[in-house]
Symmetry: C2
Subunit: 258 residues, 2 copies
DNA sequence: CACAACTCTGTACGGCGTACGAAAATCAGG
DNA sequence: CCTGATTTTCGTACGCCGTACAGAGTTGTG
């Protein structure tokens, strides 16, 4: 089974967190030279998350990786939550600046592709939720670039925001389902087919789970499952969704141009 | 700041979990009469999650609510992860059976509206991720109803799956952003405006955070933020996205019909 | 009536984030 | 140079968490 819980922590004074995100140096230095930098901590945390999941990022483990006691991490980062925020912004720094010469459709496609790739490089990005104060320079730049893609095509400000949110939201959900499936295969040691092979007899013994009760779900679910297992196809659902979303935006843009 | 981590646990033998989801009675009863039922545990857990977040659902707390020792919960549920799966399926049981007489557009709209409402009644649904074995009767029925909405409009099986996934994914992301904002206001005790009021001077002191570097992000972000605070407007981004997605599907359907 | 099956519970283990206070290192001012 | 303020680093400890394990009590079956 699964089981995911999503912690959230209060959101008191944003000051220090923002300063960290934007790399403000802080007051003059007196005491002993720091062994590390905040960036060191962020990088090791990302490496741990990349190699495993966001779960692997614990204060104790990050400290161990860095050869330092757990508590000394709190010199560089106010707490685990802020570390996650820093990781998010840092990872978004990998997104390239989009080519300004593209039309809005190509530009949004490029942005979606890059984001899709980023999520596959750093799956933990989909396991963390960000809040207001997580808005660091790279996230800000990402937003700016996304908006640039739809500027001047006839949408007002609120619609521009909604349109880029629609595209990035699509990438999030499709990438998540792609990655969840892959991770599940990895951690359970069972492929989808093997798992169903084991589950099928159990389900078969349950009258209410008869395929006759769920004709469409059975038929379509099987077809989608097989297609999904085709290994080149986890991206199909992404391509399909992106095409629909772009067509939908195009319809709106056409209406506006009349 | 934020901070969310998403646990995942291995996915060993699906048998017991599936049986629980589908309400299989299990072998005959010998020992003392159980004080509770699995459904009791699930209901209490949902009540706790509704009143707070998914974080509030701990084995110890659920047991306390039920007036029972923590360990005795393991009689009714294999572990916390399976409890979350049961909660998810149970909650999806609240979704009504859609009116079969509707056209696909109205049917998908109704489904999206119902799901939007469900997520607002049980925000924790967006804080948990499900896995293969979480497929209980209600989730299955939900899938069946969704597919029914797009049956016979000219899509093949894989496209039908992608289309309903697109709609439900949209609801997930937009509902999440709506709910995250609301929860943040609640837990931080600061409205969005108050938070920015406090953050603004800090940001102003950072050269790199100048609005001149992010002209579109500043302008559009402010407009979107104000619109979002209009209190009737968290749903705008949802309505906008849904309209675009449906238009996009309509374009595909039209092409197919030619 | 004995025994097997089942429920319930207390204790305990290993993990987590992090509060707190002490020790060591560094720099500014005299 | 020395003193004292400042900062980093660290060990210990607290209160959580999920849950393994073993025992005690309860019930139905042979």
């Amino acid at each position: 089974m699964s089981g995911v819980s999503t912690e959230d922590n209060g959101d008191g004074d944003p000051r220090r967190a923002i300063e960290l995100l934007w790399g403000v140096p802080g007051p003059p230095r007196r005491g002993p030279k720091p062994k590390l930098t905040t960036a060191d901590v962020v990088r090791t945390a990302i490496a741990l998350a990349d190699a495993d999941t966001i779960e692997a990022v614990t204060v104790r483990r990050v400290a161990e990786q860095l050869g330092v006691s757990p508590m000394s991490l709190y010199t560089y980062v106010p707490g685990r939550a802020e570390l996650l925020d820093l990781m998010i912004d840092h990872a978004h720094g990998e997104l390239p600046v989009p080519d300004p010469g593209l039309g809005w459709r190509e530009a949004l496609t490029a942005i979606a592709d890059q984001l899709w790739a980023l999520f596959h490089r750093h799956p933990w990005l989909l396991q963390v939720t960000t809040s207001r104060s997580a808005l660091g320079p790279h996230s800000f730049a990402k937003y700016e670039h996304e908006l640039r893609a739809v500027e001047g095509i006839g949408l007002d400000d609120v619609e521009m925001d909604a349109a880029v949110g629609l595209v990035t939201g699509l990438v999030r959900t499709t990438a998540r389902s792609s990655l969840d499936a892959a991770r599940l295969v990895r951690t359970s040691g069972l492929t989808d087919a093997q798992w169903w092979e084991r589950a099928a007899p159990v389900l078969a013994g349950i009258p209410a789970a008869d395929a006759a009760h769920y004709p469409l779900a059975s038929r379509v679910g099987q077809a989608a499952g097989e297609a999904h297992n085709a290994a080149e196809d986890p991206a199909f659902i992404f391509r399909f969704g992106l095409a629909r979303v772009l067509d939908g935006i195009e319809t709106l843009v056409s209406e506006r141009q009349q």
